[in-house]
Amino acid sequence: MIEVENIFKYFERKSILHDISFSLKEGEILGLLGPNGAGKTTLMRIINRIITQDKGHVLFDGNLFKEKHLEEIGYLPEERGLYQTMTVEKHMLYLARLRGLSNIDAKYQINHWLDKFDIQAWRTKRIEELSKGMAQKVQFICTVLHNPKILILDEPFSGFDPINIELIRKELLSLKEKGHSIIISTHNMNSVEEICDRVVLINKGEKLLEGNVQDLREQNKEDLYKISFQGNMLGFTNALWTGFEIVEKEAHGDDKYSVYLKMRNDNELNNLLATVIDHVKISDVETVLPSMEKVFVNTIQAQKTTSNE
């Protein structure tokens, strides 16, 4: 749906984005990750034609991205605002009309979304009367009101309580099911693991990683295993001797434990099982994949080390 090709951007001779390329497919949620100041917001503004790139281009369905395509996009910036003195309904109507909806369609959509989020009572409230969380919901609705094919959301979960995070998460998954494509920029790595199909990681304006979430975790795995058992912890530890390294222990009561460990001396999972099976009752064994947070931190640190060398 969207292809970003070799984007460069400079501000006052300083490179902000350097040769960034990636694509967003139909019905896909793409996580745009990176630490603060990595260039994510600049990239999103370029896709939305708010600012122009110095080199490279953006394609929409294979054609150069033009102004008319903006109506197919719903953009929720990180620092979003609302007109404080307007009512919820008038605000939604104004933004929906600016995004190309007719008056009738806009009113129909407003009704639909107010029903869906169960906030019909807010319709005539002025924005200044709403709490921060309520205003965030209104902003989200304003973004999706015109039923855009593509959603670009900068920190969509910030400011929400856990219940509303779940509400927005479900809504995004539902939009994905309906074939909408979504780019999410977030620091919330749990949500990345839960809803993103693929991620692009950028730092200091350069792309460091791109790929499927599961694949990236697999690629970054550290030969770590989690074994759950019932029995004596001392006996378990003694049995391991020097062939394995315990990284972390979790006690669950009633002599039930989970232990994270790494292999030593070319040992494999079979060796581990053979070593401990006579000492404890094993209930579960699994390979531990690194969290996306771990992948994120490791990749950024690796880049730092490389650039220091």
Partner: protein, 436 residues
């Protein structure tokens, strides 16, 4: 275009929803009418008939004061002296508004006391002083000289020096008409400043509450600027039309009800005192003449609207530039000061134009877009001599071309500055933003 209309409509709705705007729409013209009423009331009090009691104990004036009695004054003489309390409370004297006490040594001490119940207007005071002085003059000439009063006055008469404009010897281009233009020019400047500040605040608010990024993902910065300028401009013109309507209706009602004889007798026409030496002007009510006769409303209003639109677009683009480029509200306020000074300069240039109409500097000020709305309104009020009306259209053309250039530059600054926050605004930064 559709988006520009939507943005303009929102701006208009916001202005109409604003309590201050609605109050100003009604209170502004009422305030103007109030001032007009005050001036007219003053004229009305000039018209009042004053009964004057002259306390001449020694009969110095011989019960005479003026050969021709003025319409608005009547005199009664008594040869006693009343103290203040007597005059104030005695029923006998309640019909008198003023009492003039002529003491017996007036010829030497030159001292006269006028007691009043209601403070007399300047014109009445001048009339009384004039009459008493002349009567005393007659008495002194009779007593101390062998000259006739006429001869004495002929000798005493001071030289009159007349300053005449060689290009306008009949003084057709009076400053009264210029002041009419000045009032119109000031209205333009007032509205431009008021609604220019509205643009600035509107842009600054959108920046500070961050709605601007949401808007820019849908509309171009220039569309946003155009919609805002159009919306605020429409609100300004609407405000002006309502002001004009209420003021016109008020003036019409004043003439119909409160001041029906506004053009009669001493109200407008000059009041003359017949003396042995001819006529002397005692009182003139320029104001009534100015409001009801001097202003050629149709002509002035057409050009007022044109110069207002030009001036609004020209100055409005400056305000939009500042609003879009400011890092914080206090930061931007510093850049409002130079514009306020320019606007103040424009008013000063109007003042200069009234008293120095023919100078080269004034010619230039008529074409410079910063001052042309004010200067041209003054020239328009005076009328253009044959073959010079082109100046009006050239000034209008220069103003509109300058406004378009400024709007183009404002568009660039708008585009570059809207998404910059918390920076310190520098003039060089503004210049750089106009280049790309």
């Amino acid at each position: 275009m559709n988006k520009i209309v939507l943005i303009a409509k929102r701006e208009i709705a916001e202005r109409f929803g604003n309590r201050f705007y609605r109050w100003l729409m009604v209170l502004g013209p009422l305030l103007v009418l109030g001032l007009v009423y005050l001036f007219l009331s003053r004229a009305e009090s000039d018209k009042k008939h004053w009964n004057v009691l002259i306390m001449d104990k020694s009969n110095v004036f011989d019960t005479k004061l003026a050969i021709t009695k003025p319409d608005n004054l009547s005199f009664s003489f008594i040869n006693t002296f009343l103290d203040y309390e007597e005059f104030a409370y005695d029923d006998l004297y309640q019909k008198y508004d003023l009492a003039i006490s002529i003491n017996e040594k007036i010829v030497s001490n030159k001292h006269v006391i006028i007691s009043y119940r209601e403070y007399p207007p300047e014109s009445i005071q001048r009339q009384l002083v004039y009459l008493v002085e002349r009567r005393l003059e007659e008495i002194m000439v009779e007593e101390f000289t062998d000259l006739s009063v006429e001869k004495f006055r002929e000798i005493k008469q001071s030289l009159t020096f007349n300053l005449k404009d060689t290009y306008d010897p009949k003084n057709e281009l009076s400053t009264t008409a210029s002041w009419v233009g000045f009032v119109f020019g000031s209205l333009i400047i007032l509205f431009v400043f008021m609604f220019g500040m509205t643009i600035l605040r509107s842009v600054a608010r959108e920046k500070s509450n961050r709605i601007v990024e949401v808007l820019l993902s849908t509309v171009k910065p220039r569309e946003l600027l155009a919609g805002k300028v159009l919306g605020v401009g429409f609100s300004a013109i609407f405000q002006f039309v309502v002001w004009t309507g209420i003021i016109a209706l008020g003036l019409f009602l004043f003439r119909l009800t409160i001041f029906p004889d506004i053009f009669t007798g001493s109200f407008v026409a000059d009041t003359f005192m017949e003396t042995e030496n001819g006529q002397e002007i005692i009182n003139q009510n320029i104001f009534v003449d100015l409001v009801y006769r001097q202003i050629h409303y149709a002509n002035m209003l057409v050009f007022f609207v044109l110069f207002f639109i030009g001036g609004y677009l020209f100055y409005g683009s400056f305000f939009a530039m500042i609003g879009a480029s400011m890092g914080s509200e206090s930061d931007g306020q510093q850049f409002v000061i130079p514009i306020t000074l320019l606007i103040f300069g424009s008013i000063l240039s109007g003042y200069y134009a009234i008293y120095n109409p023919g100078t080269l500097l004034n010619e230039w000020l008529s074409f410079i877009p910063f001052t042309s709305p004010m200067n041209m309104m003054i020239q328009l009020a005076n009328g253009f001599s044959e073959g010079t009306a082109w100046k009006l259209f050239v000034a209008l053309g220069v103003l509109f071309i300058s406004a378009l250039i400024m709007l183009f530059m404002a568009g660039r600054i708008y585009k570059n500055g809207l998404l910059r926050f918390n920076h310190r605004l520098r003039f060089r930064m503004l210049l750089n933003w106009t280049k790309k």
